[in-house]
Symmetry: C2
């Protein structure tokens, strides 16, 4: 059964696409980067800063939120948007990935994953149906099907088993989603590891089931970038052209630029905030380590041409001092600087695609990163 | 020699006073609370939030800043205001208090304090002259004389020795300050522990030397509140009426309200940000522990009548969740909520003094704190 399509493709330039995805909480311009607000908060940023940086949509982690404060509690408090004060679109993952990576004593059966909470050891069962129920309780605009993600490298037989299970879980997720509120969406997730044939089989199965949009899962899990890009090249061309495509858990600015060039519309990653907490800044000069002594006496901002106040308004010497001193403000500023850079990159990518000069933009942007930071004073 | 007076007394109500203190970086309305930006940053707050909360002036810690990033470096970068982006008045302490409380192997002589840095163990000498030099390099609007502060309870002989040494250091500080930039100020510090006669002798000595303003030091160092208030009652009446009076390191909202009633004009304390990091909120209902389970399902804000967005805009349930989850945003929001409450209290105090109803305000405010938080839902 074909589901309504809330995605409008505005244009493309080569394989790169730009469009609008309409959700109950607002419109998302694509390509879009979704900052990750794991447990109902963006680490180091106020929600207004996330919005001001230009993010149209954020990601919430079902696993964290179902354990604390609990999905039923969030529903009683009016849903995630009301609870957190983030009044825009929100995508929630299924919880499956975090169950695999964070919990203990997990057991995967055809029916569900059973695991112990990393918070209090409570035994919890997460089925595709419960995952959809939890995401609905959270008030998600875009829900993800539950899937099983295999870390690479892995045996082909393991990859195939998880891919087939994910297809069956996708069908169950879709049935569970039938009573979801109008306008909300469910994305299927393509698995198949680094095996082209399995990726093809996964996409065929997903498209047969039919989703509002399609994600590529099981990448950025330990494989080289070349493998990731090769898999996108296998998958993107056979995904429905009129539906949004989301590359999960990616990535660096370069990963995203290359994925957009191969037809991807949406991304999420903790990298801007996590690296910010570790003293790293993403800029058009590449990644800059503020911990480095070269910045200690440098009065210049990270990037004087940036429109973001923290990027052009604070001396490198000050950011260096904050990072070295372990001051919270250092993590706060670098996290917002990085989220703002990711959003600026997405804005520039969208503009370049609209204007038909994406190839040129891609080359110039990569050259800037490769050239590296300005010389120390 | 009498120093210029930058303090204008606008009015008083009983012993409580309100006025304006003009510094090179702007005017400070008194009674004033100075949030503490220890190492060139306010923990958990952006500088714009400190300003928006209503703070006219902040405090920087000379000890921390001289060790890292270094006073000469900050001077080369244009001073603390330029370095940090806080463009308002800044008071710096002398460094002496932190030498006593944070460093190791300290040795106090008539000449100076010698100590080892808590950062790298470097051996450093801090004299009254070097303290003034460091504060000037930082670009301080109000410098503090170096003093020796004795923790209470203490022997009278120890208190007296430290008080006399502080007087001599005050004279040396003043001589060192003679070439300071126009408009900057130097405050003397009254010591004398909990011994009225020694407090009197300290004030007489300080006034003879002559400072732009006068601080009361050596309180809030372990003594009961009643002792602190009794010492203020000894000291305030004999301080010059036309000069600002600063009670160092104080305190709780109640401490400040009672100190204002006894003639104090300025305060500083890490309590709003420190307690905020530990899940505590200061409100007109008293101090509220957001970690408490009573808030877990409560959709109501901390104080719906507060004008501060974070105080009236977030559900107690959300703040509780952030605190329980150890999310940075919890510490950020509670720190700003507390700094905003402290500033609101100062604003209300100033208004009450101006309008001649401070006694009534004091009674109503205390009654609100005593009554405590609203009932759980």
């Amino acid at each position: 059964m074909s589901l309504p399509n809330y995605f409008e493709l505005l244009g493309h330039d080569g394989q790169a696409r730009t469009g609008l995805l309409t959700t109950p909480h607002g419109v998302v311009r694509t390509p879009a980067f979704m900052p990750v607000g794991t447990a109902g908060a963006m680490k180091g940023l106020h929600w207004r800063e996330v919005r001001d940086a230009g993010a149209d949509i954020v990601l919430g982690n079902t696993y964290h939120l179902m354990l604390r404060p609990g999905a039923e509690r969030i529903a009683a408090l009016g849903g995630l948007q009301r609870f957190t004060g983030w009044n825009g679109p929100m995508l929630t993952d299924s919880g499956g990935f975090q169950v695999m990576s964070l919990s203990e004593l997990r057991k995967v059966t055809e029916q569900a994953v059973t695991f112990r909470s990393h918070l209090d050891g409570a035994r919890i069962e997460l089925s595709p149906e419960r995952s959809i129920e939890v995401q609905r309780l959270l008030g998600s605009d875009i829900a993800m099907q539950m899937d099983e993600c295999v870390r690479l490298p892995a045996e082909r037989s393991d990859i195939e088993r998880a891919m087939q299970l994910s297809l069956r879980w996708g069908e169950r997720s879709k049935r569970a989603f039938e009573t979801a509120p109008d306008g909300t969406m469910l994305f299927g997730i393509a698995q198949g590891g680094d095996v082209p044939q399995l990726r093809h089989a996964s996409v065929r199965g997903l498209v047969e089931t039919g989703f509002h949009g399609y994600a590529i899962g099981g990448l950025a899990v330990g494989e080289p970038q070349a493998v990731m890009l090769a898999m996108i090249e296998e998958v993107a061309p056979i995904l429905p052209q009129d539906r949004p495509r989301y590359l999960m858990g990616v990535g660096t600015p370069e990963d995203m630029l290359e994925a957009v060039a191969r037809g991807i519309d949406m991304f999420d990653c903790v990298m801007p905030t996590r690296n910010g907490r570790h003293g790293m800044a993403f800029t058009r000069f590449g990644q800059i380590n503020l911990r480095n002594a070269r910045h200690a006496d440098d009065p210049r901002p990270l990037d004087e041409e940036s429109a973001w106040p923290a990027t052009n308004g604070y001396a490198r010497a000050y950011l260096h001092h904050l990072v070295r001193s372990g001051e919270t403000l250092g993590a706060m500023l670098l996290s917002e600087i990085n989220v703002a850079y990711y959003q600026q990159l997405m804005r520039d990518i969208r503009d370049a695609i609209s204007q038909g000069n994406f190839a040129d933009f891609r080359e110039r942007t990569r050259a800037g990163w490769t050239k590296g930071d300005i010389a120390p004073r």
